[in-house]
């Protein structure tokens, strides 16, 4: 069973062993509106925690997705490139954006669990 963490920038990360899957949260997709374009990172790219990893766009907004942790991209979700609406329909499952191999698992400690994230969203 994967451990799921959240960031203040509304990304989620599901960690299983040394690998993790990243996407944007239901809260994020709702605020962006219908997505029309998703640009995931390139496979093999090294991402740094908190730095730009992907771009998601609705008609009226473009938003950078920041990598919750550092690591190397191992896979991207081609389905969301073809069908950006998948992120709206299933943000925390079928609408995942990319997978990466963690280089500094300690970075996870700075992230929120679901309860903390829900509480955080309630303050917004």
């Amino acid at each position: 069973m994967a451990e799921v963490y959240f960031t203040k920038e509304h990304e989620w990360i599901a960690v299983s062993g040394g690998e993790a899957t990243v996407g944007i949260t239901a809260y994020a997709q709702e605020h962006l509106g219908d997505l029309v374009y998703v640009e995931p990172p390139e496979v093999g790219k090294t991402l740094a925690q908190g730095k730009e990893a992907a771009v998601v766009e609705s008609v009226k907004a473009a938003s950078d997705v920041y990598s919750p942790v550092s690591g190397e991209v191992t896979a991207i979700n081609k389905s969301v490139v073809d069908q950006p609406g998948l992120v709206n329909e299933s943000p925390e499952d079928k609408g995942w954006l990319y997978r990466l191999k963690l280089s500094s698992p300690d970075e996870l400690k700075a992230l929120m669990d679901r309860a903390a994230y829900d509480a955080f969203c309630a303050t917004l």
């Binding site: 219908d34 029309v36 374009y37 609705s58 008609v59 950006p84």
Partner: protein, 514 residues
């Protein structure tokens, strides 16, 4: 719902119109050309093969096509168009007539300069008006639009700083401070000049937070960019302190002059401590917006920045007017010109200069002052009249535009967008929506000085009616269904962006693509 019944009226005449490509009638012609001579060609064997794919239509078909298209547009000529930050004021037809005089319309940019002395004199006259109205010593005339003027001003700043660094050895200044409420062009122009952009927050009064600005200023700051009056329609009352702080830090003070129409003839930006400002001739000086351009963005410069103005530079000497078109022209040294280069082909938006000068001469110094006074009066009239019904985020008075937020719509299920769409059915172009970004659901209303009190009253009445309707229960659905009376109703922008169709294709190609 409004005091006066609005009838869009032309609906019965609104006709569906196919694309020109769908009306192709091979063999039809809208031009009668002579037979070309039959000489051996000199095309180097590169003659075009096969059809281009353009349709053939006769002149009546073409005229009807564009006439019908025009009838699907709102324009200032037909409706009140209070699009905040865009200054949709009346476009006098005298401007158009003057721009079409053969001596101005039918001259080539590379004619011998002795044959275009009137054109150079006209550019110089237009520059004189702009310098006098802004109280600035120089103006770069070539920028093609407001954003281009920003780019021009920032280029001049960068060149001046580089030169200063050479002389004094000071550190590189590569940071530009921009308020959060700024037009998107400001950060984009700064980035295009190789600067990094650092946002400055607003205070509770909708102005620059002076303390925050001072905290951000430092030896690496190249410039502070400020729109004044700002994008909330407010005059930056601490502007002299802002200018002093920026200058004390060794940086330049850029003013986005998009809203110069609020103060022209009453306040000279040169008296406010600014170093550089672009002027949108299509806003303040009534040249037509034309469905999105062309604009013109002459940029006034302080004495310190003037030498870096881009080419060409119009000068006047014993032999008359002439253009400096090269950085190493000996005349450039005489006038201490160190141009940043060239920003546009030829000599600027000449046709737009003709229109703007015609307008300035028509209005005169007294008329321009009356125009800004009336523009500010009209906006405050709207602010005062609608404040009981809508919600204003900042206390007045405002300048040339009145800003409201969407608190008056809280829990109604009606959004700013819905109100805008409902206005379309009432025969008004909506205000600017969701800009500036610093307030929630912004409605930015810029009436301009060219609307009568009767029009303003009708608009106020309509908006009051819509606000009341929105607050009544069960109205949301009707708002969501607006507009009803327009040539098209709400269009699916998501579908347009997900599967971009950006051109027509003939049927076989379309099928092949599927």
């Amino acid at each position: 719902m409004s005091a006066v019944t609005m009838t869009p009226g032309h609906r019965g005449m609104l006709l569906e119109e196919a694309l020109i490509f769908e009306q192709d009638s091979p063999g039809a012609a809208a031009v009668d050309l002579p037979e070309p001579d039959e000489l051996p060609d000199r095309l180097g064997g590169l003659e075009r093969q096969g059809p281009i794919g353009l349709p053939d239509l006769a002149e009546p078909t073409v005229v009807r096509h564009y006439t019908r298209l025009s009838q699907k547009n709102f324009g200032i000529d037909s409706v009140f168009y209070p699009l905040g930050s865009c200054t949709m004021k009346h476009n006098p037809r005298l401007n158009e007539k003057m721009a079409r005089l053969p001596g101005l319309a039918d001259i080539h940019p590379f004619q011998p300069q002795s044959t275009v002395q009137g054109a150079l004199a006209l550019i110089d006259a237009c520059a004189h008006w702009l310098k006098t109205l802004t109280g600035m010593p120089a103006v770069a005339m070539s920028p093609a639009a407001g954003a281009h003027g920003e780019f021009c001003g920032l280029m001049a700043i960068r060149a001046a700083l580089d030169r200063r660094a050479e002389q004094t050895g000071e550190v590189e200044r590569r940071r530009v401070l921009v308020p959060e409420s700024a037009h998107g062009t400001n950060p984009a122009s700064a980035a295009a000049c190789g600067f990094t952009v650092d946002p400055v927050p607003a205070n509770a009064r909708g102005r620059v937070d002076l303390a925050a600005l001072k905290a951000k200023l430092g030896p690496d700051v190249a410039a502070f960019m400020l729109t004044n009056p700002n994008t909330c329609g407010l005059f930056e009352n601490e502007i002299l302190d802002i200018a002093a702080a920026v200058h004390d830090a060794g940086a330049f003070f850029y003013c986005d002059g998009a809203n110069f129409n609020a103060i022209v003839g009453r306040v000279r930006p040169g008296d406010l401590g600014i170093d550089v400002m672009h002027i949108n001739l299509h806003k303040t000086f009534s040249t037509p917006h034309g469905g999105g351009g062309p604009g013109a963005g002459p940029t006034v410069l302080s004495a310190a920045l003037a030498p870096f103005a881009p080419l060409p530079v119009v000068i006047h000497d014993a032999s008359g007017f002439r253009l400096i078109e090269h950085a190493h022209d000996p005349a450039a040294r005489v006038v201490d010109a160190h141009p940043v280069g060239r920003l546009k082909g030829y000599h600027g938006q000449f046709g737009t200069f003709v229109r703007a000068l015609t307008y300035m001469m028509s209005m005169g110094a007294d008329g321009l002052r009356q125009a800004s006074s009336d523009a500010v009066l009209a906006a405050n009239y709207i602010l005062a009249s609608l404040s009981p019904d809508l919600t204003a985020p900042f206390p007045g008075p405002c300048m040339h535009e009145a800003l409201f937020d969407d608190r008056f719509l809280r829990d109604t299920g009606v959004s700013t967008l819905d109100v805008a769409k409902a206005l379309l059915d009432e025969g008004f172009h909506p205000m600017t929506m969701y800009f500036p970004l610093v307030v929630s659901g912004a409605l930015l209303i810029e009436p301009t000085e060219t609307e009568s009190k009767a029009t303003l009253d009708r608009f106020i009445g309509t908006l009051k009616g819509l606000a009341a309707k929105a607050k009544a229960s069960g109205a949301a659905e009707a708002f969501h269904a607006a507009p009803q009376l327009t040539p098209r109703r709400r269009l699916d922008e998501t579908a347009a962006a997900r599967n971009p169709v950006l051109r027509w294709r003939p049927e076989p190609e379309k099928k092949a693509a599927e």
